[in-house]
């Protein structure tokens, strides 16, 4: 089966592109980015602020399983309903600098749509570091699960 979400990250570049096709009409896909309550649901975050307009800003706060709070924020540069959102994204209290995100929404048919997310990082090394985070988490989780299975067998 073809993968629904695709990542294009060329070696040595400081950006990447995420694409995803949805079995949703364009308006419903866009609504998932526009409505603070819905954003909170699928992102699993508290939405403290979401000003959907040029010069607007946004602020999220997530709580991890240990109870630690993590803040995220950014500024909205472009907001064109059912077309595009251009914004910055910053993880507070981390060494990662702000990143720039271009989100483009398009209709594929009456019942399907596509999101193209272009993310630009400060440097190629930083982009790779962002990619390495889920990788490092991934090998930990995969091995821990494996360990659990092995422990049960012994």
């Amino acid at each position: 089966m073809e993968k629904k979400t695709k990542i294009a990250a060329e070696d040595g570049k400081q950006d990447l592109v995420i694409t995803r096709e949805f079995e949703l009409p364009l308006e419903w896909l866009f609504k998932a980015y526009e409505d603070p309550e819905i954003v909170a649901q699928w992102m699993g975050t508290k939405v403290l602020k979401l000003e959907n307009k040029k010069h607007g800003s946004w602020q999220f706060e997530t709580t991890d399983p240990k109870g630690n709070k993590h803040g995220f924020n950014g500024t909205i540069h472009e907001f064109v309903p059912n077309q595009k959102i251009t914004r910055t994204f910053e993880m507070e209290n981390t060494p990662f600098p702000v990143q720039l995100e271009f989100l483009e929404f398009e209709s594929l048919s009456e019942s399907s749509s596509k999101l193209t997310m272009h993310i630009v990082y400060r440097s190629a090394a930083l982009r790779d570091q962002m990619l390495a985070l889920p990788f490092a988490q991934g090998i930990n989780m995969a091995h821990n699960r494996l360990q659990e299975i092995v422990n049960k067998l012994i």
Binding site: K6, A32, D128, L133, Q137
Partner: protein, 111 residues
């Protein structure tokens, strides 16, 4: 020497995987890394040595301190480096899709 095998052996150890996860978010000194574990400092040093030898970690001199950071280039060579990042976004988008489909159905019922 089989470098590929060495890398897999390196990540087969839970402490070494935990070290990789720690330095994934920021470069750290051996002391700062060791502070996260109950294991004796020389044991952590040994793990750092193994991870550095198989190039999963890189050392960088900063003044008098040596910082360890993740060598993303090496990771890209050994595994599908992008896959966990892709899965993270895929899960998120699947959730979005499921929530919106449910909302669409609710709306249709009202009509």
């Amino acid at each position: 020497m089989n470098l590929r095998r060495d890398v897999f052996q390196a990540i087969a150890d839970p402490t070494r995987r935990a070290i990789l996860l720690l330095v994934a978010s920021q470069a750290m000194t051996a002391g700062a890394i060791a502070a996260n574990f109950d294991t004796a400092r020389p044991t952590v040093s040994k793990h750092l040595q193994i991870l550095t030898e198989c190039e999963l970690l890189k050392q960088e001199q900063n003044g008098r301190e040596i910082y360890y950071h993740l060598n993303a280039k090496k990771m890209k060579a050994v595994a599908d480096f992008l896959e966990p990042f892709r899965e993270l976004w895929d899960d998120r988008f699947n959730k979005l899709e499921a929530i919106m489909k449910a909302k669409m159905q609710e709306e249709q019922k009202k009509k």
